[in-house]
């Protein structure tokens, strides 16, 4: 990283620093992994899905519920719910908008950008020399390119980023879209 040394105050991040919680650190690791494998492709579409998952992996409904609640509490699972394909919903324009923001400001700017409803993701990532001078990344999904371009202009002005280097990388094609697979 170039620039100033990183300080904790620069990171008003949603998640505290990496604190891996290994599934294998407690006595039920084997059944945890079986449950993880059973649930990763989706919840069963039956009235009692957690009982059905339990039946598949040899746990009671109460045990499945207790584990999923624990995984949510510890952040191993961010949430349970729907994973939508934006394109199918008519959100055909998808842009990765990147800025080169001084390290001392990146946390504050990131938090401001993230407050905009059109911003679906906002991360700080490392710059990579000449090939990639940007350190703040946002994803914006919109119904068409013109809408997204107008949103980028509005964000830039609202956050006082006009003078900072930026790039808007529209996606041209999506070749592979799926969640990570855990076996």
């Amino acid at each position: 990283m170039s620039g100033m040394p990183l300080r904790a105050v620069d990171f008003p991040a949603v998640f505290p620093g990496p604190a891996p919680v290994h599934c294998g650190t407690h006595p039920d690791a084997a059944s945890d992994l079986r449950l993880l494998a059973a649930v990763q492709h989706g919840l069963p579409l039956v009235p009692r899905p957690y009982a059905e998952l339990g039946r598949q992996v040899g746990l009671s409904e109460a045990e499945v519920i207790e584990r999923l609640e624990r995984w949510l509490a510890t952040g191993i699972v961010k949430r349970l719910g729907v994973v939508v394909r934006h394109r199918k919903l008519g959100y055909r324009a998808n842009a990765m908008v990147v800025f080169d923001v001084p390290d001392a400001l990146v946390g504050a700017v990131g938090a401001r950008l993230a407050a905009f409803a059109c911003v679906t993701l906002c991360y700080r990532r490392p710059r990579r020399g000449e090939a990639w001078p940007y350190n703040l990344f946002c994803m914006i999904h919109g119904r068409d390119r013109a809408t997204v371009e107008a949103q980028v202009e509005a964000l830039t002005l609202a956050c006082g980023l006009e003078a900072m280097p930026r790039a808007v990388l529209f996606s041209r094609r999506c070749f592979k879209q799926r969640g990570a697979v855990y076996r």
């Binding site: 990183l6 620069d10 990171f11 008003p12 991040a13 949603v14 998640f15 604190a19 891996p20 919680v21 649930v39 492709h41 989706g42 579409l45 039956v46 009692r48 899905p49 957690y50 409904e61 999923l68 952040g75 191993i76 699972v77 961010k78 949430r79 349970l80 719910g81 729907v82 994973v83 939508v84 394909r85 199918k88 919903l89 959100y91 946390g107 990131g110 911003v119 679906t120 906002c122 991360y123 700080r124 990532r125 490392p126 990579r128 090939a131 990639w132 990344f137 990388l169 529209f170 996606s171 041209r172 999506c174 070749f175 592979k176 879209q177 799926r178 969640g179 990570a180 855990y182 076996r183």
Partner: protein, 147 residues
């Protein structure tokens, strides 16, 4: 997409309950029947509007690694490189984008040390340098799409 499907997508982006009859709990909250919720979700999955209905994992907290990586691919080699990169099961999303770095993909590995192996493997297979850009801070994660 019908009204039921829109209601489900808007109503479930924030999460799904963990209780004995979660579909019933959702149905009561959204003014639907349990059966309508289950069949509506099945329809959304069958149409491909939902890629998944279930848990969203936090790879790093599971002890794995998650990163964004980019390649600068000569236009003539693009199809070949797409196939080579997508052959790795650790590649979760792959997009062509308008930039000199024109291929962007997510790497998700179960063990942190596997990331370097996958990057080395992609570099060996494609002959191109992988620019790895792991997350340093996260300012927001969520979905606020109204449909």
């Amino acid at each position: 997409m019908n009204a039921l499907e829109r209601t489900l997508i808007n109503g479930l982006q924030g999460g799904f309950p963990i209780c004995e009859r979660p579909y019933l709990a959702v149905a009561e909250r959204l003014g639907l029947t349990e059966e309508a919720v289950i069949e509506g979700l099945r329809g959304l999955l069958d149409q491909g509007i939902l890629s998944r209905f279930g848990p969203l994992y936090h790879a790093e907290r599971m002890g794995g690694a998650l990163s964004l990586a980019a390649l600068a691919v000569p236009e003539a080699d693009f199809e070949r490189v797409v196939a080579e990169v997508n052959a790795f099961p650790e590649v979760a999303h792959n997009y062509a984008r308008d930039h000199a770095l024109n291929m962007w993909f997510v790497l998700a590995t179960e063990k942190p040390e596997r990331k370097a192996e996958v990057i080395a493997g992609i570099e060996a297979a494609t002959g191109l340098k992988v620019h790895d850009m792991p997350k340093l801070a996260e300012y927001y994660v969520g979905l606020r799409l109204e449909v």
